[in-house]
Symmetry: C4
Subunit: 279 residues, 4 copies
């Protein structure tokens, strides 16, 4: 076995460990990575607290550099072990992996850019890889598919809600005016969003009687129309769940809608065909 | 071809471009219009911000007049090209189109009426025409139909909620009194609406122990009864979706709306055609 | 026809007008009553606003007495025309009718009891009678039945939520203490209710880091568990709607689940029995 | 009958009264216990209110010790009467029972630990035993099962929501900075949780235009995605309810869970018995 073959064999082994989840080494690698990511995210959070930064800033700085070197090493290995490096680099996780290490290096060149370091918190997105490990993937896919099917209806709803918010904001700008904090239309629309979504900070509130009446209308609107997206998503999830359950056809009487654990047709007693693999 | 015929032909061509969406010219016209509307809405918003008005007011004024002339021209063309001008003028979009241009002209005659100009923001409603273009219409119709069927149940719910709000408001007016900001029954009802819809500005809050107990009751009520409109709308959407799914037609009596496992027409007993492939 | 018979005939006629809705006189009577009730409720509301009370208090006082005499007259007529006066007097609407007029008379005897007059706003409950007129009754009954079936599950949910709120409130009392406004356990529980129901006044907010972490947990809990009552009520409404739709049985093949407009069995083509009257 | 037998017989009788609900003595015991628990919880709450503590602290102290002795006695009896004492002591209610009495004794040894006494409020958890009495158990089990089935989907949702909150918090920390109260990333994440769950205290609010735009996005996100857990839970409850409804048993293979229109067992093909009357 020459050097090139050895290298290829190592690459395949690494690919198996890094991208796979079936081998014990792959699981161990993933678990170690999760701990490193969580440690790094907590370190970024704590470092942003002034008192902790003053007291333990040095240790956090060392930890940060240690983890950055580790993640850089991981990124390079991933690039090298990947079947198609350019595809990995351009993928969602490839970009997140790069953004996880880049800010730390840039902070050396651009010393003033403290806020740049906050981008590192995006490392938390890497945790999504853990789902692969915990086999939550099928549930996530199920939800993603249901939401995908609902997307056009939800888009119509959101579009309508945004127009409603713009209308309420503009009306309140005219009624309340700058005295109550409705200093401009964009700010009034911000108030309308705060109100219709039922968040209700209370930083801007109507002061006139007419303004409070219109605001009441906005609140009741927001309170009632939340039913619409909920209804859409619920209907899609219900339908997706029943589709999962009833997807075979009887070869004798052509009845659909057999439950997933049925062996015989519930109408004619004919044996049902074997379940097909879920796509 | 005489002048009158030429004019008629031009009218038909314009009608096709303005009201239709199938021809490339119609699509281009719609896209141009959407950009003009968005530009105009953003201009109205920005002009309401004092600092932007002071710095760029002149440019916004020129843009505003340019767009107003454009929209006026469009309105006149629509009137002229329309099959029945009076019907267009009286329709929802006809009125919105008129309200989009009128305030700018009126601001010349009534110089003090600055707030009048805010009506122009209603131009945003014209965006709804874009739905026609993006073929979101069928989804919008689907939702509109489901909500229409739910309207009587939702009305009963809203009526009950409003009575609950009036009752809570009146009780709190008696318990808390003017000292806590519950200065009148209408204002107390405003508080009840803010609370039951779970908006919770915090501009008026109960101060006494009994008041806080009643407020807690109001909050839990509001938190729990949101389930009712959600349930109504979800049931209607679910039922509408399953009706859509089971849409075969009887070859004998042409009835639609057979369930997926029906073999015979539920009205005349005729055997139904085999199910078509799901698209 | 003697005097007693005449009286009896008048009583029957009045009963028909007051309690019925089918005759034109009955509809007219109901419509007149609705206007009177709304006028009276609005008068009570406006009278509670200090500035309006000062400016138009006299007129409102006269209107109030006029309407009180009218409602008293109506109450006496109802008592007299009723089949069983004692049952009417003890019924929900009988008590509301009495509470609608009593405070005005009591305010003559107990001059200081201003707040007593607020009870008159309960007149708004009399509006529920209008539902009889607008034939919203069947929708209201439908919803009431569905909610009645859901009541045990919702009770279990509310019980759990209240225990959760008490637990969060007690924990926060220990963590935050009087300095942040958590001065006692009842007040901390009030905060927990404000938070878990997502109302969020902001009159009491956690100041310590640990307190904000626990509060975050309370918010996410409240945000997520709203799904439970919504799910319960939705399932009941969906099931009630489909029960309404599929309630007959084929006499030939005993299939249930025919839609309400089906004439023939969807499986075997047998004619379905006539629909039974809805109970 | 010797002493040992007498003791054994007493133990069995006590076990029947304490752990059972069928005998009149058992019901009476449970009812008495509920009153004692409620009295004790209310006493802990009232004692935390400074003014009540000052005025009636002595009486509450006596009541507290009386109830603590009672609960201690109950705990010892439960331990003694239990079939397997160690299992009871280690069970959820066993630990709650111990935590209900321990703090009072500890407050004698550790006089400063006032807050320790707040743990006693966990006595409220003992109320859950009342459900056994009120036969709410089946409803609670039903809901617990449905939520258990939904747990993986809800976990995926909560995980996604938390990542969204961390992202929004970090972005706002960069945009708004300490001037608006976004002093650190953990505090900004606290703000994001307050906003996305639509609680909206208003203790930290965005001040810059860009910050308000991002906050608006966070609000609309939070407002719309509440549809997801609601949809999941609703679908599970709906499916659980319909499973409950269609519960016939095959006479051949004893399979439950046939749908209402099934004629043959879906597992073995045996003809199913006629549907029983709906109870």
């Amino acid at each position: 076995m020459n050097e090139s073959q050895e290298k290829e064999s190592l690459r395949l082994k690494l690919r198996h460990i890094i991208f796979g989840t079936s081998s014990p080494a792959g699981v161990l690698f993933d678990q170690f990575l999760i701990i490193a990511i969580l440690a790094s995210v907590v370190a970024v959070m704590l470092d942003s607290v002034q008192s902790i930064h003053d007291a333990h800033g040095e240790w956090l700085y060392i930890l940060e550099w240690g983890l950055t070197v580790l993640f850089t090493f991981e990124y390079v290995i991933r690039l090298w072990a990947s079947d198609r490096p350019s595809r990995y680099a351009g993928s969602f996780f490839g970009i997140v992996d790069l953004l996880s290490v880049l800010p730390t290096y840039l902070s050396l060149i651009l010393p003033g850019a403290n806020y740049l370091l906050t981008i590192r918190i995006l490392r938390v997105l890497r945790i999504f890889r853990v789902m692969k490990l915990l086999s939550f993937m099928s549930e996530a896919n199920f939800l993603a598919k249901a939401l995908l099917r609902a997307r056009r209806k939800v888009a119509v709803f959101l579009f309508t809600v945004i127009v409603v918010m713009i209308s309420f904001g503009s009306i309140m700008y005219v009624i309340e005016g700058p005295a109550s904090g409705f200093t401009s239309i964009p700010r009034s629309i911000y108030w309308a969003i705060v109100t219709v979504t039922t968040v209700g900070y209370g930083d801007i509130t109507p002061q006139t009687t007419l303004g409070q009446a219109i605001a009441s209308l906005a609140m009741i609107t927001g309170y009632a129309i939340i039913a619409v997206p909920t209804g859409i998503v619920t209907a899609e999830i219900t339908s997706a769940m029943s589709r999962d359950r009833y997807a075979r056809e009887c070869t004798n009487c052509h009845l659909h809608e057999h439950e997933v654990d049925a062996l015989h047709c519930k109408r004619c007693g004919e044996k049902l065909p074997d379940e097909e693999a879920d796509t």
